[in-house]
């Protein structure tokens, strides 16, 4: 009932949280919701029809991310992919130690922190952009390698809060040199819309994607697992996805995932340019308000994420005023109750807590227009002025 009540005039700048499904993906999944309802594992002709859809989707995804179809696993999303990669790789070796950066998404960070008390997890720092501190990472890997440990390294391709791009080729060279036996995983969830995935895939062992971040449905994801890299499955059962992820496949979701990823990749170069221009207009407008600092500048961040810290406002209050004015944006991550938590990413980057209080993330995507950006600057300007006039002396 509430769905129909959503105001279609909303200015939606929260694409990093989720981006609307691409119409072609919605269309592609329709036949598999009602008509082709067969279980793809079945042995009848009806099942074969569903099976074929999955096989074709797998080929399409493999082509985009630059791997063999057999290396593509369809699962339930980015968090599942991250958990599987880390726990699955750690369980395969008695001597494994998971290592990640302090600015990873919680889907990675909480896994590593969970392993830490047993001596199976370590967190290394980041630079002022939120990218892993390569010197510290190299040092830890050399030590672990020297102790006969097998590092399971997880470094995100693009930071979900501040948008910074990690030079993964550089990280991979360092990891291979410091610990040749290491497993290298990347959470590439925020990279899919903006970066060519093939070069990233080429330098890692495991990669995770989340469909709803690139115009596919929620609850669907993709994991690339390089042939020869051993990952213990988290979910056992009917042996689907070559025993790597059991459970009846979400046929409609998989088809939509592939359709969205293919469409995203086809438009990536032109879209990136268009969104980069909008981002620059947006950031320019915000800097014009005064007392605004861009957290990671264009060039080092993806076009889709503009993160700023605004002096003299508390983002919890700011988000209320933005919401009231019809602008959907976000700050840091929210906890289970919905309360805003201080950003672990900004803390890891060394941003003081008072500055981080004014953090605002505006994320752009395939439906973002110049009108959205102009409206956002207007709305934010009004809200910031109001809050600053109410700031306690």
């Amino acid at each position: 009932m509430a769905a129909g009540a959503i105001d279609r005039d909303l200015v939606y700048l929260d694409h990093a949280a989720t981006t609307p499904m691409r119409p072609e993906a919605v269309a592609a999944m329709q036949p598999f919701l009602a008509d082709v309802y067969a279980n793809p594992s079945g042995s009848h002709r009806f099942a074969r029809e569903a099976r074929r859809a999955i096989d074709e989707a797998r080929d399409a995804v493999a082509a985009v991310i630059g791997c063999k179809p057999g290396e593509v696993i369809f699962n339930g999303g980015g968090t599942e992919g991250d958990n599987t990669a880390i726990f699955g790789a750690v369980r395969r070796s008695r001597s494994a130690v998971a290592v990640c950066s302090a600015a990873e998404h919680h889907a990675v960070l909480h896994c590593v922190e969970h392993l830490a008390p047993r001596g199976e997890g370590e967190v290394v720092g980041v630079d002022t952009d939120g990218c892993v501190d390569t010197a510290a990472l190299g040092e830890r890997l050399r030590v672990l390698s020297g102790e006969g440990k097998t590092p399971v390294v997880s470094v995100m391709a693009v930071n979900n809060e501040v948008g910074s791009i990690t030079p993964l080729d550089e990280v991979a060279r360092l990891v291979r040199a410091a610990a040749p036996n290491a497993v290298l995983h990347t959470d590439a969830v925020q990279a899919a819309c903006w970066l060519d995935l093939a070069p990233i895939t080429a330098c890692v062992d495991v990669l995770t994607l989340s469909s709803h971040k690139f115009g596919g449905p929620k609850g669907c994801g993709v994991m690339f697992q390089r042939t020869g890299v051993e990952i213990e499955p988290l979910i056992l059962g009917g042996g689907q996805e070559r025993d790597r992820r059991s459970g009846t496949q979400n046929v409609a979701g998989i088809v939509a995932t592939a359709t969205a990823l293919v469409a995203t990749a086809a438009e990536r170069t032109t879209e990136s340019l268009r969104i980069a221009n909008l981002r620059s207009e947006l950031v320019g407008g915000l800097l014009g308000l005064g007392g605004v600092r861009e957290t990671v500048p264009a060039g080092r961040a993806v076009p889709g994420i503009a993160h700023v810290c605004i002096e003299g406002v508390e983002n919890e209050a700011l988000l209320f005023l933005l919401d009231e004015a019809g602008l959907c944006a976000s700050a840091a991550s929210a906890c289970a109750s919905g309360a805003m938590e201080p950003s672990h990413v900004l803390a890891a980057m060394g941003v003081p807590r008072e500055v981080a209080r004014g953090a605002l993330r505006l994320s752009l995507g395939h439906t973002t227009t110049q009108r959205d950006v102009a409206a956002a600057v207007d709305i934010i300007g009004t809200a910031v002025a109001r809050l600053r006039s109410h700031t306690r002396a």
Binding site: E316, F320, A334, S337, A339, M340, R386
Partner: protein
């Protein structure tokens, strides 16, 4: 009016929100996340936030969560811990109202363009003949919460609403049931929200301050026992005071954390008529001596007394009849002689009387 309703996920604030909506106001609900640590009392828990959100959905009002856990730690939890370390018994619920609900939240409500903050407290706001708003006791004598909101004055009172203040708890529950609110039969919250019921105060404080063994002496100064943690002893306490031999009814009549000494005595030794209060807040803004009633706990009865103003911050209270000594740090609230409304409030001092010289020099 555009109003912000503080919704805890309990029945009173649920009904408060429903009443405001029924009166046609633009209502937004907010649940404050205050305590970031572990707790099993249910306060600030995800399920309480869920209840608040579901009630808001049912009423078709927006619901927000504000994270004030930093402020709560600084203004409520840290002072609570510090107080115990120095032998003072604080009232964290009052400090929470003072520093969070009616300060942090009202300031934010102001900044966000709300005309008033609404809570589910059982107290009534009534304008007197001079046109000034006063906090009156709630309609349900057994549930009256005027004591915990006594610090509201002047402008804050003009921007605060207690829609269930005139109702009895039974009426609130009946209305919640009639409206089909999921919180209709939810039990009242009890105890201090950040202190787990398992382990309690002792475990909570034990993780934060060092405990010290204390001597237990009688009123003549003779050693009669010892306690493991002088920081956990409260005036008036009868159990767990480590007496060497069982004596008939001994009470803690004094605690000195500095010398780590607990004084025990008979119920008679505990009786006082004097009560020295500091940090006074006056509803009218002006201190006044005279005949009042004083209440020293959330659900205690008020006692008739005479009040003498020492200075803007302090008063000397003399009870008409002796009463058990009140622990330092507790809030004492003065009501008018007819016991109808709040006149002032302050904190109980360690001494029963201000030194006579104080008034003269101040």
């Amino acid at each position: 009016m555009k109003v912000l309703v503080a919704m805890s996920g309990g029945v009173d604030s649920s009904v408060a929100a429903a009443l405001m909506k029924r009166e046609g106001h633009h209502v937004v609900g907010v649940t404050m996340r205050l305590w970031g640590g572990e707790s099993d009392t249910g306060c600030c828990s995800v399920s309480d936030v869920d209840d608040a959100r579901r009630v808001a959905q049912q009423l078709d009002i927006d619901h927000l969560v504000f994270n004030f856990s930093d402020d709560f730690q600084e203004k409520v939890v840290d002072p609570y811990v510090h107080a115990h370390a120095t032998g003072v018994t604080p009232n964290p619920c009052i400090e929470c109202n003072r520093s969070l609900k009616f300060s942090r939240l009202t300031e934010r409500a102001d900044a966000l363009g709300f005309d008033a903050v609404v809570t589910g407290h059982h107290a009534r706001l009534v304008r007197n003949a001079n046109g000034d708003m006063r906090v009156h006791r709630g309609g349900d004598a057994a549930k009256d919460q005027s004591y915990v909101v006594h610090m509201l004055t002047g402008r804050e009172l003009e921007r605060t609403l207690f829609p269930v203040g005139h109702m009895t708890k039974a009426e609130v529950r009946a209305l919640a049931a009639e409206l089909g609110l999921r919180t209709a039969s939810k039990p009242d919250s009890q105890d201090v929200c950040f202190i787990p019921t398992t382990g309690g105060r002792e475990t909570f404080l034990g993780k934060r301050i060092p405990f010290h063994v204390g001597r237990v002496v009688d009123t003549e100064g003779h050693d009669v026992g010892h306690v493991d943690a002088v920081e956990l002893v409260t005036i008036g306490q009868r159990r767990g005071i480590g007496l060497y031999k069982t004596e008939a009814k001994r009470f803690v009549v004094d605690v000195d954390t500095e010398s780590r000494t607990v004084v025990v005595g008979t119920e008679n030794d505990l009786q006082r008529t004097g009560l020295a209060l500091h940090s006074m807040v006056w509803a009218s803004g002006a201190a006044e001596s005279g005949r009042f009633r004083v209440q020293c706990s959330a659900h205690g009865t008020s006692l008739p007394c005479t009040v003498e103003v020492v200075d803007a911050d302090r008063v000397q209270v003399t009870l008409d009849a002796p009463h058990r000594r009140i622990a330092p740090g507790q809030s004492a609230v003065l009501y008018d002689e007819s016991d109808a409304y709040v006149v002032a409030g302050g904190l109980v001092s360690a001494a029963s009387a201000w030194p006579a010289s104080v008034g003269a020099t101040a």
